[in-house]
C-alpha cells in the first residue's frame, strides 16, 4: 500500500509553481519535490506587531509550510550580518506562537545544502535582498483560512484531500489557540481584534 502511495505521489506531484520571491526558494521547492515532501508557499501570515489602534502593522509569513511535517521553513539568503531583522521577527513569532514549529535556513545552511547536492553553480547567486518582509495582507489573523493563491504542490486525491482538510482544521485550531495565547500574552482580547496593543 505504501509503495502504491509512493508511486501515486510521484505521479501526482504537480508542476505548478508560484511566483517565488527568490530563486533560492524555487531551488528549495525543487529539492522538496524531488524527495516528495509536500509544501505550500507562504500559506500563512502571522501578525507580530500591532498599532495602538490594534491594526496589524507587521506580519511574518514563512516561506514554506510542510503539511506532512507540520513545519514552517523560512529561507534567508542574506549575509549573516544582514539577518538581524529577520531574526527579530522570528523571535517575535516564537514568542507569540510557541506551538508553531519553524526552521530558519540561513545562507550558510542553504549553501551547505547546495554543496551536498552538488549544485555549486547556484552558490554564487545567493545574494538575497532585504525583502521577504510581508506586505499587509487580508486576513491577517493567525489561524485564518489558507489564502486562495496558496499552492499545494502534491495533490494526493480525494481521500488524502479529506485527510488534508482534517489536518488543516487541526492546524487552524492550533493556530487559533496560539493566536489566542499570543493575544492574551500581549494584553488583547482575542475576540476583539481591534483591542489596542500595549506600547
Amino acid at each position: 500500500m505504501e509503495q502504491r502511495d509512493l508511486r501515486e505521489d510521484q505521479a501526482t506531484v504537480a508542476r505548478v509553481r508560484p511566483a517565488f520571491a527568490h530563486h533560492s526558494e524555487a531551488e528549495l521547492a525543487r529539492i522538496l519535490d524531488f524527495y516528495q515532501v509536500r509544501w505550500q508557499y507562504e500559506p500563512d501570515a502571522f501578525p507580530i506587531g500591532w498599532s495602538l489602534d490594534g491594526d496589524v502593522v507587521e506580519s511574518f509569513s514563512p516561506d514554506f509550510f510542510l503539511p506532512d511535517l507540520d513545519l514552517y521553513v523560512e529561507l534567508t539568503t542574506l549575509k549573516q550580518t544582514l539577518v538581524r531583522k529577520k531574526n527579530r521577527k522570528l523571535r517575535r513569532l516564537r514568542e507569540l506562537y510557541p506551538d508553531v514549529r519553524i526552521k530558519l535556513f540561513y545562507a550558510r545552511d542553504f549553501r551547505m545544502l547546495l554543496l551536498k547536492f552538488g549544485r555549486l553553480g547556484l552558490l554564487g547567486e545567493l545574494s538575497g535582498t532585504t525583502g521577504q518582509a510581508t506586505p499587509p495582507r487580508e486576513p491577517v489573523v493567525a489561524g485564518s483560512a489558507l489564502p486562495s493563491d496558496a499552492v499545494v504542490v502534491a495533490d494526493d486525491g480525494e481521500a488524502d484531500a479529506e485527510a488534508g482538510h482534517a489536518g488543516r482544521g487541526r492546524r487552524r485550531g492550533r493556530r487559533r489557540r496560539s493566536a489566542s495565547r499570543a493575544a492574551a500574552a500581549v494584553g488583547i482580547d482575542p475576540a476583539s481584534p481591534v483591542t489596542p496593543m500595549p506600547a
Partner: protein, 188 residues
Amino acid sequence: MSRPVDLVNDIGEVLLTEEQIAARVAELGRKISADYAGRNLTLVSVLKGSLPFMADLMRQIALPLRIDLMEVSSYGGTATESSGLVRIIKDLSASISGEDVLLVEDIIDTGLTLNYLVRYLRGKNPASLKICTLLDKPARRLVEIPVDYQGFEIPDQFVVGYGLDYSERYRNLRFVGVLRPEVYSGPD
C-alpha cells in the same frame, strides 16, 4: 572537479580518528547484538556512503544476520533534471516482510533521503524498522526522524571520509575529516 584531489592537504581537521570510529562501532555492535538477540535481523545499507560503516558494523554484531543494499538517486545527480523525483537505483534483493530491519546510514543531516527510505521500506511490511547512523548532524535537520542508534553527533561542517564523499572522492579515507572550504569554494 577540476581541482586535483589531495587526500592529505584537502582536509582541514580530523574530526573522528580511525580509532574513535572503531571503538564507537564496536559499542554500537554490542548494543545491537543485545537488542536483537533471538530475532531475524536484516541490515539494510544505503549505498554508497555507508559501505565502510556497514562492513565494520556487521562484523561487530554477534548475531546470525542478513544484509542487503539499496541505492537511491540524489538530488543534483545526472538524472535529476529529467525525472525530477527521487528513485530507487538499486532495490532490495530479498523480501524483508516479517524481518527486523535496521537501516544503516553513514550520515543524517536534512533527513530528506531517510524520510523517503523509511516510507518505502515500511511499505514492505518489516516486523520492525529502526535506524542506525554513524554520524548525525541535527543542526541541518528538516525532517525529524527518530534515530535509534547514533555513532556521533557532529557539528554543521562539511565532512568527508569513511565512506562520505565530496564529488565522489575522499570516501577511502580511514577517518572522518572536515574538508577545507577552499576545496569546494575555489580560490577567492
